[in-house]
Symmetry: C2
Subunit: 230 residues, 2 copies
């Protein structure tokens, strides 16, 4: 925001500045999407990235295209996190590594955008591989006896999604209270720690109801019929 135009930059920004703008755009898009949900506007994204809407539309032909790229990146991070977790020796730490990483940059943040753009084959493939890795992560943890009895991969993924959004931080930054941002970050770490520790095997009782099926998780990425909804 403001008038900074050219000014400081001087040498070959032929593609250097371009890449920086692209990263800022993607970061801003994820943040705004997490805050404003399905109603996130391109103007807000561009403003948060510190660029004009013109620059945004030069890189992405449409809002949907930006969200698609965002989703692809999130899915890649999701898959990487699961594989990294599987590579760890400590079973519990591996599970937690995946959970933490997935919460931080998870597809949960862009769930509100689900159904507003077409899902490419690459996305479904990435999601499939990720789910498979997570299922193995969960199975391994159960075999090691460190994961609470009855917890399924779907339980885990839904819990992660639940923890992905931060209502507190959303409102804080929506009101512009930057002075409390660090405190909110700290508070969120504690909450996540508490919630994830509920996954540990221990004296806690059985889970209520029966294990949820995968359809709860896959359903959302395919718009039902008749484009958007209702």
């Amino acid at each position: 925001m403001g008038r900074l135009h050219g000014m400081t930059r001087s040498r070959s920004w032929r593609s250097e500045e371009v890449a920086r703008n692209d990263r800022a755009l993607l970061r801003a898009a994820r943040e705004v999407l997490a805050v404003d949900g399905a109603h996130a506007s391109v103007a807000a994204i561009a403003a948060r990235a510190g660029v004009g809407v013109g620059s945004l539309y030069r890189r992405y032909r449409t809002k949907q295209e930006l969200f698609q790229r965002l989703c692809l990146i999130a899915l890649r991070e999701y898959l990487d996190a699961a594989n990294e977790g599987l590579a760890m020796d400590d079973t519990w730490q591996g599970l937690m590594h995946y959970a933490m990483a997935s919460i931080r940059s998870g597809p949960g943040s862009l769930a509100p955008a689900a159904g507003t753009f077409d899902v490419t084959d690459e996305m479904t493939e990435l999601a499939r591989r990720g789910d498979r890795a997570v299922a193995e992560l969960v199975q391994r943890a159960h075999r090691a006896g460190v994961l609470r009895a009855g917890v399924t991969a779907v339980d885990l993924e839904l819990l992660i999604e639940q923890l992905s959004k931060s209502p507190l931080q959303e409102q804080l930054q929506c009101q512009g209270r930057t002075e409390l941002y660090d405190a909110a970050l700290n508070a969120r770490e504690r909450i996540i720690t508490i919630a994830l520790d509920g996954l540990r095997a221990g004296p806690a009782g059985a889970l209520p109801g029966q294990a949820p099926g995968y359809e709860l998780f896959t359903m959302r990425w395919a718009p039902p019929e008749g484009e958007t909804a209702e």
Copy 2:
């Protein structure tokens, strides 16, 4: 939607139907607010309640007035839940009773509306009394040794807020997939159980960072300065 007008109803609906509509309106308002956040529209609320916007505006002079009444009711339920929890003999069960009730009808759902309406003295008084009751609930649980070391009342309230929203159910009903609603409800119960069990005293390690202050919780109800935001 639909033309059902009078039809089935016959006897003295002078005030019976009116009360039913009011309840439906409040219920719908809470649901839509939880789904659409700050951008919830009166049309959506009225439609979900099965009434016309005219009926909504005959009972509430403005959208803000509806949200105020909604907030007041939620705060009352919140206070009641805390007091009921205190009245229980079993300390842990008392805490869980409060948490469950607060999650289900919690002020967390209407957090996005915070700052969009004026806070009355009655609201602040109710919130103050509720917070006091919760603080006692937490203190009592700590004395009994059933609550995880280091957990503060603010931690608890923020965790409850985190669990108040259900991204899964939101999207489900936004897409009109009613056939999966029961499964989603069941899945949510499991997630809440897991997360709340992380509050139990046990072998889990210490919480990261330091205890968050109350300002994180009270800040939001007072618009900073300059009305809405930004």
